[in-house]
């Protein structure tokens, strides 16, 4: 069998020849990257450039738009719509916090206490995804309707009196109030919180809990000093995956809210698709992007983690 592989033997090489890998081999990664990266450059990065240019244009739909470096648009847009910006950040922030508070116990339960029920619970967390989120959001219209069981119970507990006083609800109503919008946001993005939390909790060696308790830590201290710090990567990526889409969302505000709960997403959508004031819409989405990216950067620096997903 060796004979088939043997070729004519060349003489030994006298001079040490420096060998370089062939150019073909060095280009492989670039060929692999090319199609996907071009796609992202053309359909993600380039649109940003167009949008930047649109935001400093003036004109009208009839006469056409041209670049006039009209930065005034930014100021005008911000002045007119700052309440929506504040609302967006407030709603998204509240929803993110609620997701963390609601999601952590469930993720913890699945990771450490579920035993043989673990897979079933995981399926139940993911399964709602398979029904379109719009249909599920519409279901909240039924759940939070004025005469529904949930609202009656909240009313009987005088919970709504408190939220009314805080300005979250109005009288006996939940639907078309800030609370309805935040409930919808929290609901929609909860799985994005739970899954990263679960992934990082599941990686924690159960023996660490035993070691901590062996070293005189109470269950509460064990959680504070061992479990929670180790789940930080999950907390960081979970909060980002919740906050970022929530801040730009307009579906929940549209379906569950009223004209007083409009978020910045609603404004961008209507400026772009109904009013057709492209410069204002472009300026608004740039301001939103700047705010979100700024907050994300500061947050990541603070949390001190680079690997997000």
């Amino acid at each position: 069998m060796t004979a088939t592989l043997a070729k004519e033997a060349p003489g030994p090489v006298e001079e040490p020849v420096l060998r370089k890998p062939p150019a073909r081999k060095r280009l492989v990664p670039y060929w692999l990257l090319l199609p996907g990266i071009v796609w992202l450059l053309v359909f993600f990065a380039l649109p940003m450039v167009y949008q930047a240019s649109t935001s400093v244009q003036t004109g009208s739909l009839e006469k056409g738009f041209e670049v006039t470096w009209h930065f005034q648009t930014y100021w005008n847009a911000f002045q007119e719509y700052w309440p929506q910006f504040v609302r967006s950040l407030l709603y998204a922030g509240t929803a993110t916090l609620l997701c963390l508070l609601l999601g952590y116990p469930l993720a913890y339960l699945i990771a450490f206490k579920a035993g043989r029920w673990r897979n079933l619970l995981l399926v139940l967390v993911i399964a709602p995804f398979f029904t379109s989120f719009l249909i599920r959001t519409l279901a909240w219209k039924t759940i939070l309707a004025d005469d529904s069981v949930v609202v009656d119970v909240l009313n009987a507990l005088h919970f709504l009196d408190v939220t009314d006083w805080l300005g979250w609800t109005e009288g006996d109503r939940v639907l078309a109030t800030p609370m309805a919008v935040v409930t919808g946001l929290t609901y929609n993005f909860l799985p994005f919180m739970i899954l990263p939390l679960y992934t990082s909790l599941e990686r924690i060696d159960g023996r660490l809990h035993e070691a901590a308790q062996d070293l005189y830590a109470s269950p509460a201290t064990t959680f504070r000093k061992v479990t929670f710090p180790l789940s930080m990567p999950g907390v960081v990526s979970g909060t980002l995956l919740t906050f970022i889409p929530a801040s730009g969302d307009y579906v929940n505000a549209e379906l569950l809210g009223s004209t007083d709960t409009k978020m910045v997403g609603n404004v961008i959508q209507s400026q772009f698709l109904r009013v057709l004031d492209y410069p204002t819409a472009a300026a608004l989405s740039f301001i939103l992007m700047a705010i979100v990216l700024g907050m994300v950067t500061v947050y990541i620096r603070r949390a001190g983690t680079e690997d997000l997903v």
């Binding site: 990664p29 990257l33 992202l40 993720a107 339960l109 969302d249 772009f272």
Partner: protein, 264 residues
């Protein structure tokens, strides 16, 4: 009281789960409703009408089939491009690595409405007609990063010695890829594909901006929230939920049986 304290986590977790499942139960229940008027928001009486005629609403099943096709093509495109990027990132050293990593991370860190609006700006400026193709382009774009992340995680945990062993055992580059690399990376690619399919099928915001007069299933639901919600959308929602749960259960059953026969 002690019992309550001991099981606090379990109770809190199960309450969260109830919160997550509740809307699905409502959707399911209301698929058997016979509403008065155009909206299906309050319970009237039990009926199987919608289940007997799921496509009885004009344009709904067309939008559903369009969404399924879109999701299939978007998944294919994103998986192809994303897998190539993931392999390049894990297996090779090259210039501009940081820039490429940021370019892949940014779409995931961008509010959807911003991407939707800027992509529409591009299409309007280029004079491209909105429709199936513009939506497909957009879907591949935002699914790509998620596929890269999923496949990258799997490829990173792969032992590079396995491919060396294949090359050592007379498998050329193509054979090595087909017989060793691909089968081992398959779970990561499958996870990426599943994620891409779900994201594309359920996307509303980016689609709404860039679809023109094309109507996908989420857009149909959105429209019906304004005009009147037919019971049939609950039927579709419920059917897909049940189908998905059954598929997961079947998958679990098969792997369990395989494990048993393997150890027997």
């Amino acid at each position: 009281m002690r019992w309550l304290r001991k099981n606090l986590v379990v109770i809190a977790g199960l309450l969260t789960l109830a919160y997550m499942i509740l809307p699905n139960l409502v959707v399911m229940a209301f698929s058997f409703n016979r509403p008065k008027g155009r909206f299906n928001y309050s319970w009237q009486e039990f009926s199987l009408d919608a289940w007997k005629d799921p496509c009885g609403v004009a344009d709904m099943c067309e939008s559903l089939s369009l969404s399924l096709q879109l999701a299939a093509w978007a998944t294919l495109g994103a998986v192809l491009l994303g897998t190539m990027i993931a392999f390049a990132l894990v297996r090779y050293r090259f210039r501009a690595r940081g820039a490429i990593n940021s370019l892949i991370f940014l779409p995931m860190a961008m509010p959807e409405v911003v991407m939707a609006a800027s992509l529409l700006t591009l299409f309007l400026n280029m004079g491209i007609e909105l429709g199936f193709w513009t939506v497909l382009i957009a879907h591949i774009m935002f699914c790509l990063s998620f596929v890269v992340t999923a496949v990258k995680a799997r490829v990173m945990s792969m032992d590079p010695r396995l491919e060396e062993a294949a090359r050592d055992l007379y498998a050329g580059p193509a054979q090595t890829f087909l017989r060793v690399t691909l089968p081992i990376a398959a779970p990561g690619i499958a996870a990426g594909a599943l994620l891409a399919f779900a994201l594309s099928f359920d996307d509303f915001i980016i689609t709404n901006f860039n679809a023109g007069s094309t109507v996908t299933f989420p857009m149909f639901v959105w429209g019906s929230a304004q005009r009147g919600t037919p019971v049939q959308i609950n039927v579709i929602g419920t059917a897909m939920f049940v189908l998905a749960v059954l598929m997961v259960a079947a998958g679990q059953f098969i792997t369990n049986r395989r494990k048993k026969t393997a150890t027997a």
